[in-house]
Every structure is written in C-alpha cells, then in structure tokens.
Subunit: 307 residues, 2 copies
C-alpha cells in the first residue's frame, strides 16, 4: 500500500453556526485530512502535537482508521491547540473568537522512521517552518501538496515563500489566492502561484467548487448543491484529504488523474459540511462515497453533439 | 427550421466598468438573446419596441442574423428605452445610474402572424403583463422560458405570479431566486419555484456558473474561468439566448438535452463578457462556439474508475 504523510494541527474546536453551537470537539487540519484520506486503501500517518488533555478516545478514533500516530507527540502537562469560531448567517464568512496555540507554540515535528519515504505528502495548514522541517526529514516523494492560509502570508511571508518553492501543488482558497498574488482574476492568480513553484494549483471556492490549474489547462469540480450546509469547518482540509488520499492510492499524478482527485476532494467535502465538526466523517463509508460519485457524474457529465 | 419567439427590451445602454466607459450603445435583453440564439440554425423573431431615435444600423445588425423584426414596433417621435449603469471593481455588483422607460412605458406587444405558432418562446425581462400578453396571442409552444428580475418582484408581484404559473422554465439569478422564495439554499429555492409553476428552473450564478433543476435532478454548468471579465452586461440574456436557441434548434426538451442547452448558454455567455456591450457577440462565429465547447468539455468532463 502506498503511503501518505500528513502534517497539520490536531486540535479542539468550538464552533457556532446559525444551526447550533458545540463545546470543545475534535478538530484540526490533520484530523480532517486524515479522516478523509482514510476512505482510500493507503497507509497514512499524522505528524502533529497535542497536549496531555487530549482524550485517548480521539486518538483511537484516528488509529482505528489505520492512521499511524507515532509522529503525533503528546506533550506531558501541555494543553492542546484550541480554536473557536462563529459563522455568519450565509456560512461563507466567520469570525475567530479565540485561538490558543498552547503546545503548537514550540512544536518541532518528527517524522517517524517508517514514513521517511512516503509516496505523497500533505502539508496541512501550519507554520511554514514546521512544513519545511518535515520536507527536510524525508526522501523526496512523488508528490508534495501544501495548504496554507492568510495568517502565514501576513506574518511569515519569507518562510512561506521558501516552502511554496519546494512543493508540487498548492491548495488554497480564492481569497487567499488573491492575497498571495495581488490578482483578482483566479486564472492570473494561479499563473503567478505556478511561478512561485507549484506546478499544480488548486483554488478552493467553498460552495462554488474548486479549480485545478496546470500549465494552461484548467479543470473545475463543483461543490454538490446541498439543501443545508450545517457547518463548513474542515471542508477545505477534507477536500485536501480526498485529493491526496486518492492520489496516494492510485499513485498516478498525471493531470488526467488529478481531475479525478479533485472530484473525490469535492465528494468528501460535501459530506463534511452535513454535520458539526468531524461527526459525518466518522461514520462515512466507502459506499456513501461511491454513491455520491454517481451524483457528481449526474451533476457534471453531458453528451453533446455539435449543432 | 424551428421557430424561437423572443420578447424583451431593445435598448440603448451606457456602461461604465473598471476597464472603461461607453456612450449610448446597443443593448436590451431581447438584443442579447437574439444575437446569442442566432448562432443556431433557427428562425427567430423579436417582439419589442424602440423609438424613432433607434439607428437603422442596429436594426440591420439584427435582421442580418435572420432575426424577424416585424414584431418590433418603431414608435414615431418616441425615444428608445435607455439604461445606464456602473459596475463595481469586482464586476459582481453594479449601480443603476439612470433608467428612462420612454416608449416602453406604453408598450403593447403584437406577435406577428408568422410567429403565432413558435416552437420555443423566450420571455425576456419585461413587465409581467407584457410577457402574459404575448403568451395569450400564441398557440401553446413546446417550451416557454421566462426571465425576470427583482424589480418586478418588488413592484408587480401578483402579475409576476400569474406569468410564472404559465411557463415551463424560469431563468433567474441566485440573489433573485432567494428574494423570490425567501430561501437561502438554492436547492430549496428551486423546489419552491417549481411549485409556482416552472418544471425547469435555471439559477444563474454569474462567474460561478449556472444550476439546472428538474424534479430532484440537478445539473451544473460552470462559467469558463477567464483572465479578464471586461463587461458583464447582457451575460444573463446571452445565456438565455444560447439555452433557448439550442433547444429550439434541436426541438428536444428532455432533461438530458437541457443539460446541453445549459452548457451552450454558458458557452455563449463566456464570449459576451469579453468585450463591451454586444461587441463580441457581433463578430462571433460558429467555429468560435465549437472551439469553446471543447474547452468546456476539458473543464468539466472526467473519466473515473472506482477506488
């Protein structure tokens, strides 16, 4: 089985949406990436850090999905990273209410021996120097995918540029792509990003789908139109997990196969938003995913004859 | 050849975008619909009204595309409908600077004898009673498509409900669909609209594409990602012209074929926004459209094997 190495936060989230409010629940970029990628027959590992307050139950939940946690450090006496946010009524924007870095502040990632030659690496949202450190510890894999956010553009631009220069693909949302490039047109933004390093650029537009750019080729995967989006938290990471999980599983990083990976990313993200936090991803089955693939085909595929 | 009857404004527009500014140029819903539908081998006619100030050159431009103007009244001494608008920097919103109804104020539509049994009718944006009057003058066609806007919801709700109850399909933009139904979710909005009458609902999302709803089936056509959107004026009407032009041409109103019609609508709209006003639609060829169809296929079609 091919190996996917995941780097990112494992955390507590407290979420408020127009539909309700949670206490501290399981969250974090690497958690969503891991749960999503676990739908594919791969070996995966999470490099991350949690505090002593992190429940064994949550760790088991990940381990039971064949996710290796030898690289997830548990800091004695430490507290787990905590994020709290409140979504606006349209669910397209949110306010951060609280961020407590806790054990993340001094995190030094260590890649376990058995994952030092992964097939695919997913560098989830974290400090660019942590992402870089992981790359320095491993044999160059077939594909390295980076996710980042505006916070690192604002505060660690130079470090971010270093890691962007070393990856094959970037997944980023539309507003962040605009901030990164100072271009409003996403076509122009993707072209500028490619010049920074990544040969493949995925721009995530939330409910408006995702665009994949490579050279002058473009592919588009819509988001599934849903009656109700319950909680968008983790949708972008779930997308990234589906994208890299599928690519690790197939071992094929051609543009043609990356189209499929983008569809699987959208597929899995469409489940994530149906319930609070990771709830829907916890009981998701391969059958659910395959059935939804048929919905994506019905939604997008057509047979046209020239007029 | 099948017949498409088009109702809507033929007008003067003055447009300001971040890229420039025009004097009074050719505009109007029926103009855009007509120019777009003219890409298909059909007979079409425009029922509308202009003033004596409307240049013969503009009328010839439409006539030369095989658009019958017997139903386009020229009011002696009258002035043509005029709209002026200014787009904001993101081109997603605009302010109306001036609206002069002029000859539109007392418009009584008259359908010419040779178009009293059309195959498809496109009721472009106009007063709902004008749209109703056209339906009352014709033999029930295979398909009637209605376009409308928030102005008629605000001012002529009861009349709008009457005409909505009589059509097969509604094309409407996302914000207007939300206003019409008081639902934020477009899936729920489309379901409510279907209960008002139209079995087919097309929700246009501008740069984010268009959704086609029928019973519980959904199809999605993206907008082509463009480097530069020059002027969005008329894109929605151009979409409607491509949609109805293709359906009139093929004479097939199955859901399967309506998917293709939505793709052709997006295809044609992607040209419209490339230049100011109708400029790009005037020199557009079938070859351009066929080439862009290949781009739409590359953008959306995939070959997936189950994992």
């Amino acid at each position: 089985m091919n190996k996917l190495l995941i780097v990112g936060t494992v955390a507590f989230d407290a979420i408020e949406t127009p539909f309700g409010k949670t206490d501290k629940i399981l969250g974090g970029a690497a958690t969503y990436i891991g749960l999503s990628a676990a739908q594919f027959d791969i070996e995966s590992a999470i490099v991350s850090v949690v505090g002593e307050d992190f429940p064994q139950e949550y760790l088991n939940l990940l381990k039971n999905r064949n996710i290796d946690l030898k690289g997830t450090e548990i800091v004695k006496g430490g507290k787990t990273f905590f994020w709290s946010g409140k979504y606006h009524n349209d669910l397209n924007s949110r306010d951060t209410l609280d961020t407590q870095l806790n054990v993340l502040a001094d995190f030094q990632p260590v890649v376990p021996e058995n994952f030092k030659a992964p097939d695919v690496v997913m560098l989830g949202n974290l400090h660019p120097l942590v992402q870089l450190s992981v790359l320095e510890q491993i044999k160059r894999p077939k594909l390295v995918v980076l996710d980042t956010m505006n916070f690192w553009m604002d505060n660690t631009w130079d470090d971010l540029m270093k890691v962007i220069g070393k990856v094959d693909a970037l997944t980023i949302n539309d507003e962040e792509a605009r901030q990164l490039t100072d271009e409003f047109s996403l076509v122009k933004a993707a072209r500028k990003i490619a010049k920074m390093g990544p040969k493949y650029v995925v721009i995530k537009k939330g409910e408006h789908g995702a665009l994949l750019f490579h050279n002058e080729q473009i592919f588009f995967a819509p988001a599934l139109p849903l009656e109700e989006v319950f909680d968008p938290t983790g949708a972008g990471d779930t997308f990234a997990g589906g994208f890299t999980g599928y690519l690790a599983h197939t071992g094929d990083i051609s543009f043609k196969n990356m189209k499929n990976a983008v569809i699987y990313g959208s597929n899995l993200a469409s489940f994530c938003v149906e319930k609070f936090g990771t709830e829907r991803m916890q009981d998701l089955t391969k059958e659910d995913m395959h059935q939804r693939l048929e919905e994506f085909k019905a939604l997008t595929q057509f047979q046209i004859t020239l007029t």
